[in-house]
């Protein structure tokens, strides 16, 4: 079985035969049933699939928000299962920027404070935090809204604030979970352009979506169905290996 060992360019994340089973009482639900996937530096990858297909679970594992039940998950060369919560927190802080469908801004903080929050956890001093947060807001053309709270901003503006928060720590990978799901088409186009700009600047971009036109903009698309990677050319989905995905 081929692994990343013989590949020259380094993978940002790599999953080998990852399974994720949720237990609630007697009931076991397998959200992922053996997914193998590799994401390289500066990739633009779309993960598509119907709701309940396991694509959100996959995104959570990619973002170190959840751990696989079995299989191997490597992030920047480290086996995630062997890392403790503190290290995973540092990885999320420094290497991953999240953009959520629900924006997930903190309501009682201003746009500026929300954007600067990852730097608070990185231990950056307040003056530098402020300068970098203003620069990040400027990049999403919201510098004039810095002192507004999320409730005072439109959905599109809130998502742009979230993008600014995701890019402020200059992460290697941006994970966007249905980033346009709650936006009208004009705002959605803005947000996608911003995300693609980050990809053009050298960051890996992973977009999870159920919208075909959003997925179509990515350089590579994979589809998840029933917890497996769906290969349109090979409907025998259980026989997939990492080689077939490349």
């Amino acid at each position: 079985m081929s692994t990343s060992d013989d590949v020259t360019s380094p993978a940002i994340v790599e999953l080998i035969d990852v399974e994720k089973v949720y237990r609630s009482g007697e009931l076991e639900v397998a959200a992922l049933r053996g997914v193998s996937l590799r994401v390289d530096e500066n990739e633009y990858l779309a993960i598509v699939g119907p709701s309940g297909s396991g694509k959100s679970t996959l995104m959570h594992i990619l973002g170190c928000l959840d751990v696989p039940t079995s299989g191997i998950f490597r992030i920047i060369g480290h086996d995630a299962q062997s890392l403790d919560e503190d290290v995973l927190a540092r990885i999320r802080n420094a290497f991953i920027g999240f953009v959520f469908q629900q924006f997930n801004l903190l309501a009682h903080l201003t746009a500026l404070q929300n954007v600067a929050l990852p730097l608070v956890y990185a231990g950056v001093d307040p003056d530098e935090r402020r300068a970098r947060a203003i620069a990040a807001l400027d990049k999403v053309t919201l510098a004039d809204r810095a002192e507004h709270r999320p409730g005072e901003l439109s959905g599109g503006q809130q998502q742009r604030v979230a993008v600014a928060r995701a890019l402020i720590s200059e992460p290697a990978m941006i994970l966007a979970d249905e980033p346009t799901g709650n936006l009208d088409s004009a705002a959605a186009a803005d947000v996608l352009e911003l995300l693609e700009q980050l990809n053009a600047d050298g960051r890996t971009l992973v977009v999870i979506t159920h919208e075909r036109d959003v997925a179509a903009r990515a350089k590579r698309t994979i589809e998840i169905r029933d917890g497996r990677v769906w290969d349109p050319e090979d409907h025998d989905v259980g026989a997939l290996d990492t080689g077939a995905l490349r």
Binding site: H60, G63, L65, D66, E85, D86, A89, R90, R92, N93, A94, F98, F100, N104, L105, L106, H108, L109, L117, P118, V120, Y121, A122, G123, P126, R165, S169
Partner: protein, 412 residues
């Protein structure tokens, strides 16, 4: 994450949930106010007792008649017999037998109805026969006119010194000096008014009439018991010689009463220390009880903090998820919630001390209770308040820290 950022994050959370934060603080506030006032009232009560005893006269021994055993073996209880006499008092004045005694004053008392000789106003008070030395032993003199003199004592002069309350009752606001009162038909000239004792509990001490003990025995009270005395005040030369004075008085009286063993003495001697100790015991019981109430209030306040913090963790589960997703470690979250709980505790503690100080100012306005604020107790109360925040914040904080980021994010 630096401690400063942790602190401000916690402050933001406290400020953005004003009502909840103030209700949480209220619990702590009540507890701390209770602690501050408990200590203050306890110390105030002790100071009051100390002052009362100092007003009674310092370095003082009080000899009272005690139980006696007659030659036929009939025993009488404390106070039922009049075993102390003016002769005992005279013996105690000896510089040889009792060198550590500075002054003594025998006191005889009876309840007596005095009548203003010109207006006919009457008032029942405590008629006290004593010697001029009473001024020394009781550290108290006349504010108007003069106290009874040695000449009055020698001549059994018909003169009287009245307490402030007695003067008001008999003379109203008119000047009593030179006027007369009668007791059982005997006319007594008012020569002085006693200095009032300040503490309210001493009101009885301001209602009395003092006559020379010779006048008391020869002119006013007849009968076989006229030479016996109710008590003898003995003043030691200093606080250091009080126990020597006690021994001397005891030995001398045992000797003059022909009592062989101290245990069958027909008198008893009380010292200020024993009175002080007795009242301190009462005070301490009171303080322990009040402190118990304070501790319970603090416990309730602490449980309130824990309850609110747990609700807060549940309510802010999504916020915790977002913070974790963007890089907060479990210890960052734990610290944020711990600092939040301690900030609530500190604020509640400071407000509690403030309300306690307000109470200490107001309570004496509405009652006789003195309240003495103690700075160490106030600082201690604030430390306790922070401690309660921390202790009762630990469990909610660790629950918040343990939340898996994904479970936290998924919650709606």
């Amino acid at each position: 994450m630096t401690w400063r950022d942790t602190f401000w994050t916690a402050m933001d959370a406290v400020r953005s949930h004003r009502l909840r934060s103030s209700l949480t603080m209220l619990g702590i506030l009540i507890g701390i106010t209770a602690v501050v006032l408990t200590v203050g009232i306890g110390q105030g009560a002790q100071a009051t007792v100390r002052d009362q005893i100092n007003e009674l006269g310092t370095n003082l021994l009080v000899v009272s008649p005690g139980s006696s055993t007659s030659s036929t073996g009939v025993r009488g209880g404390f106070g039922t017999v009049t075993t102390l006499t003016q002769a005992d008092a005279a013996a105690l004045t000896s510089n040889v037998a009792a060198p550590d005694v500075e002054a003594i004053s025998p006191v005889s008392t009876t309840s007596a109805e005095l009548v203003n000789a010109s207006t006919g106003a009457n008032w029942t008070t405590t008629l006290t026969g004593t010697t001029p030395n009473w001024q020394t032993t009781r550290s108290r003199g006349a504010v108007l006119g003069r106290f009874i003199s040695a000449a009055d004592q020698r001549n059994a002069a018909p003169v009287v010194v009245l307490g402030g309350v007695t003067v008001t009752q008999l003379f109203g606001s008119t000047d009593p000096l030179g006027s007369s009162v009668t007791y059982n038909g005997v006319k007594l000239q008012v020569i002085g008014v006693l200095q009032n004792l300040s503490s309210a509990e001493q009101a009885a001490s301001n209602d009395l009439a003092i006559v020379p003990i010779s006048t008391y025995a020869q002119r006013l009270v007849g009968g076989v018991s006229r030479n016996s005395v109710s008590s003898i005040y003995v003043k030691a030369t200093s606080a250091g010689t009080l126990s020597a004075a006690y021994q001397e008085t005891n030995a001398l009286l045992l000797n003059t009463h022909h009592v062989a063993t101290a245990s069958s003495a027909d008198f008893s001697i009380a010292t200020q220390q024993s009175i002080l100790a007795a009242s301190n015991t009462v005070d301490n019981t009171l303080t322990v009880m009040l402190a118990g109430i304070a501790v319970i209030s603090l416990l309730v306040g602490g449980i309130g903090v824990m309850n609110i913090m747990l609700v807060s963790v549940t309510e802010r589960i999504r916020e915790i998820g977002v913070r974790k997703a963007i890089g907060a470690s479990p210890s960052d979250i734990r610290r944020q919630f711990l600092v939040e709980a301690s900030v609530l505790g500190l604020a509640g503690g400071l407000l509690g001390v403030a309300v306690g100080i307000l109470g200490a100012v107001l309570i004496p306005q509405f009652s006789d209770q003195r309240v003495i604020l103690s700075i160490p107790a106030s600082i201690g109360a604030i430390v306790i308040a922070i401690g309660i925040g921390v202790v009762f914040g630990v469990y909610p904080a660790s629950r918040a820290a343990r939340l898996a980021p994904i479970d936290a994010l998924r919650s709606e």
